[in-house]
Symmetry: C2
Subunit: 147 residues, 2 copies
């Protein structure tokens, strides 16, 4: 099963791979409109925070002119890390859709489960495994020649 | 007891308060040199990610031209939230010094303890309670007139 927004996130991830970046892509959607799309740019930007989700959230905040994205949904090819899960809380993202799980650094169930902790002041709806095999293949294809 | 870098972080937090922002300040130090300093700008920038720590890390990465800050230490007036704790992991910050604990959203022992989880690929040294009463007072003074 496909999802049109996750397909855009996958396109973004492919752009990352072409630039030698770990292929992760993210899209922010409000209603049926794509507000922002981004991919991991850690190496190119030389920035520890330049994950796809952070870049997409920053861009959506710029475009909408506000930090609160409680009417927005985030699609990302990989389970968010703690930084990105924390940004999802801080931005009050309404729904999170992600593709592949990240057993090494995933903060939405794999290593820790930040987005289901009621102690924080926001818990988004979570939908996982969206176009999972395509999302996982992006990463296995990227790391294969490096091993 | 005072700490010269935490004093700079406190100055930054005061600048935030003057601008109507929740007063949190952060400083990144390499050797004895202040590489970057920043304060919370969430409202002014309209950005969910514009916490003091993220802005200081981004600026340090720009200045040093690399995402890996494993020779840098971060001073921050308040216990980092999950997003900022995650950014500390991602940037491989060597040592974290913080002032006041954050019982509501702290991710370095209060609500969750991300930076001591061996599952993640980096665990900084952690020093807490640095100039704690001054750091806490910044926040209580800020929120007092609002209540």
């Amino acid at each position: 099963m496909t999802n049109p927004y996750m397909e855009i996130a996958i396109q973004e991830a492919r752009m990352a791979a072409e630039e030698g970046e770990i292929p992760v892509g993210a899209v922010i959607v409000k209603g049926n409109i794509v507000i922002s799309r981004a991919h991991n740019l850690r190496e190119k930007m030389g920035s520890a925070t330049a994950h796809a989700e952070i870049l997409a959230i920053d861009e959506a905040c710029r475009i909408l002119g506000r930090w609160r994205l409680d009417d927005c949904d985030l699609y990302v090819t990989l389970e968010p890390c703690p930084m990105c899960a924390g940004a999802i809380i801080n931005a009050r993202i309404r729904r999170l859709y992600f593709g592949a799980a990240d057993p090494k650094a995933g903060a939405v169930g794999s290593v820790v489960d930040l987005l289901r902790m009621r102690a924080f002041n926001h818990t988004p709806e979570i939908y996982e495994g969206i176009m999972e095999s395509q999302c996982r293949k992006l990463l296995t294809d990227f790391f294969k020649p490096l091993r």
